[in-house]
């Protein structure tokens, strides 16, 4: 009896010591050195991406776990290759890369993989098989939004579509996604197309021209802000019809503040960088690698009128609420939603206004 108790005691002690040692080890472990190689900073998204990367290693579950070093290079393949070579010589634990080219960095990234460095491309991903690719699901985004439009129109009406930027692969993909879904609704007619160039001005003038040419327009599918389209509707004295766009702060605010506006805004969240960091830490912690090379991040849609997608069941919708998920005191170019659910990043932190 006594012996048994002693044995239990010893066992319990062992477990306690082991678990203590375990936590001690986790806390003592040197932070992982992770480089973020970014090829372009000329827009709001990239800057927000970098800020949220930094914030997400300064608090929450990753606090103190990562020594994050960001290397920006001019938008040139050779400079990024040279920079990556420098990074590889530092023998970091992981390299995250927003790539200048989907293929031209491959040999360099392969070299990093061969040295045991975890390589994760995100946003502008690469085709190198040894590197993970963390990106938004660019099939889901346009298809869900076109489905929403069809639901708003009751499957009937005239719409105009944004072709995006001529020659850009992403533009063709978005337009194709819209058209693919709308083709299922024989009573929805595409009566015009324009190039929005992902800027407010071209969107507004493109929509205005098509409104002038078409007396009946029941919906607008932009690839940009959506707020330019709403402004064009107002200027033309037309009813505010349902609008599809992307989740910039200004778009959400315009939708919320415009009477009768119906909007859905797709999101390519700037916290892709945070997700890439989290993935790197998980791989480094567990040694286990995800089976799929391509990992899609599903940013929630931001909308005035949530709906249940039948094409992508379970798709999450956030209803626009000023102050909560749209921010009048923050820059118009801020991308929503701000934070992934495993860490709490504020709008001020993401915008760099704090």
């Amino acid at each position: 009896m006594r012996f048994k108790r002693l044995a239990y005691g010893v066992a319990a002690l062992c477990v306690a010591v082991a678990s203590l040692a375990g936590t001690a080890q986790a806390e003592d472990k040197k932070p992982y050195v992770i480089y973020l190689s970014n090829n372009f900073v000329g827009n709001d998204w990239r800057q927000q991406m970098q800020r949220v990367a930094e914030v997400s290693v300064s608090k929450g579950p990753l606090a103190g776990r990562v020594d994050l070093r960001i290397e920006n290079v001019e938008n040139a393949v050779q400079t990024q290759i040279n920079s990556l070579n420098n990074i590889i010589r530092q023998k970091p634990d992981a390299i995250l890369v927003d790539a200048a080219s989907d293929s031209a960095l491959n040999p360099t990234l392969k070299k990093a993989c061969d040295q045991g460095i975890v390589v994760i491309s995100f946003d502008q991903v690469v085709t190198e098989p040894c590197a993970y690719a963390v990106a938004s699901d660019w099939n889901r985004i346009p298809e869900v939004m076109a489905e929403w439009m069809a639901v708003q129109l009751g499957g009937k009406g005239n719409v105009i579509i944004d072709r995006g930027l001529a020659g850009a692969p992403i533009s063709a993909q978005l337009q194709g996604g819209y058209e693919k879904v709308l083709a299922n609704y024989p009573d929805i007619k595409i009566v015009g197309e324009y190039n929005g160039d992902y800027a407010l001005g071209p969107e507004q003038s493109g929509v205005a021209a098509l409104l002038a040419a078409n007396p009946q327009v029941d919906g607008i599918l932009t690839q940009g802000y959506g707020s330019g389209a709403i402004q064009a509707l107002k200027d033309a004295g037309r009813p505010i019809v349902p609008v599809v766009g992307f989740s910039y702060n200004v778009a959400a605010l315009t939708c919320a503040e415009t009477k009768d506006a119906k909007c859905i805004l797709g999101s390519n969240p700037a916290y892709l960088s945070s997700e890439a960091i989290k993935l790197a830490v998980e791989i480094l912690d567990t040694g286990k690698r995800p089976e799929e090379r391509e990992i899609s991040v599903k940013g929630d849609f931001v909308t005035t009128h949530p709906f249940e997608s039948k094409l992508y069941p379970g798709t999450k919708m956030i209803t626009i609420a000023i102050g909560e998920n749209a921010f009048p005191d923050q820059p118009p170019g801020l991308t929503l939603p701000i934070t992934p659910d495993w860490v709490d990043i504020s709008a001020e932190e993401a915008a760099g206004t704090k």
Partner: protein
């Protein structure tokens, strides 16, 4: 206006020689300074491995800048280098098969295309007496467009063995260092031979070269043809680094190729400069990136530092030319 004086500099003493080479010497001093600073921060800087690594990183720029230096010596400029590099990489990435035969065939064709486009540039410039800047701006645009038509966005593939080229070693030196040595030997021979002398003389003073019986047409065809050849070679080499074609990648080499030459002491007005300086210029531009990285300052300091170095080089060049003019007067 200063071409005649600098080109026909009379008997030189040591002082003159120093002055004449001032831009080159300044470039050497700047490179030394960069290497020394780099050496205190990074281990193993003074090893063959480091030389191999940096030569491999700088080789595309070196080849492009070689093509630029030849044209600058002639008193021209070649913007179409950018278009040729883009077009070369997309041809490689879309046409190379896995067999050595197909690689050799298409490499040869890319080099021939480079020469052909270059010669066309030279002929257009001479026959219609056009500005090299404008002619090569136009051909750059054409080549760029054709590259876009062949391959609208980055991609394509090359055989796996093609990728290892820059890291092959022989006697401890990488293939790129050997290429560099071959390039310098070629240059020394070429500039001492008749065509090289003619190019330089025409760059110094076109009129007197013409009067002494030089065919400007032939000089231009030769100069721009060679320039196109080196641009095509840069494209081939670049694909060993990237393993892909890119219809836009060439523009990243246009201005740096001019900058490397100017930093190394080549005059934009023709007649003065040599390849050794250009190579040093290319090393400087590449090492600046390493230095900025190792000092852990923001990477935006790289273009700032490159700009400052370019200014120093231009100042050294201006001082040298002024002194030479004084001497001549």
């Amino acid at each position: 206006m200063t071409m005649a004086e600098t080109g026909d500099a009379p008997r030189k003493g040591l002082r003159n020689g120093l002055l004449d080479n001032a831009p080159f010497l300044v470039a050497c001093a700047m490179l030394t300074l960069i290497v020394v600073i780099y050496g205190t921060r990074q281990t193993g800087v003074f090893t063959l491995d480091e030389l191999n690594l940096n030569t491999t990183a700088a080789m595309t720029l070196m080849l492009a800048a070689t093509g630029q230096t030849i044209v600058l010596l002639r008193g021209g400029i070649n913007l179409s280098i950018g278009g040729m590099i883009s077009l070369g990489t997309v041809i490689v990435a879309t046409r190379f098969g896995d067999s050595a035969g197909s690689v050799i065939l298409w490499s040869g064709l890319v080099l021939l295309l480079g020469i052909a486009v270059g010669v066309a540039n030279g002929l257009l410039i001479s026959i219609f007496r056009l500005q090299p800047f404008l002619v090569t701006l136009a051909t750059w645009s054409i080549l760029n467009g054709v590259a876009m038509i062949i391959l609208p966005s980055d991609g394509g593939r090359v055989p796996g063995w093609w990728l290892g080229f820059g890291y092959l070693q022989f006697l401890g030196l990488s293939s790129t260092v050997w290429m560099l040595i071959a390039l310098l030997i070629f240059w020394a021979w070429f500039m001492a031979a008749r065509p090289g002398i003619t190019i330089k003389a025409t760059g110094s003073n076109e009129k007197s070269a013409f009067l002494s019986g030089v065919s400007i047409l032939r000089v231009n065809a030769l100069t721009y043809g060679l320039s196109g050849f080196f641009a095509a070679a840069a494209a081939l080499y670049l694909t060993t680094q990237t393993g892909a074609g890119s219809p836009t990648i060439g523009r990243d080499y246009i201005l740096p190729s001019v900058a490397a030459a100017v930093i190394g002491g080549t005059s934009l007005f023709g007649g003065r400069g040599h390849l050794a300086g250009t190579i040093i210029g290319a090393y400087i531009l590449t090492l600046i990136g390493n230095l900025v990285f190792i000092l852990r300052v923001s990477s935006y300091w790289q273009p700032v530092a490159s700009g400052v170095i370019l200014l120093i080089a231009v100042l050294a060049s201006a001082i040298a030319e002024k002194a030479a003019r004084k001497q001549a007067a």
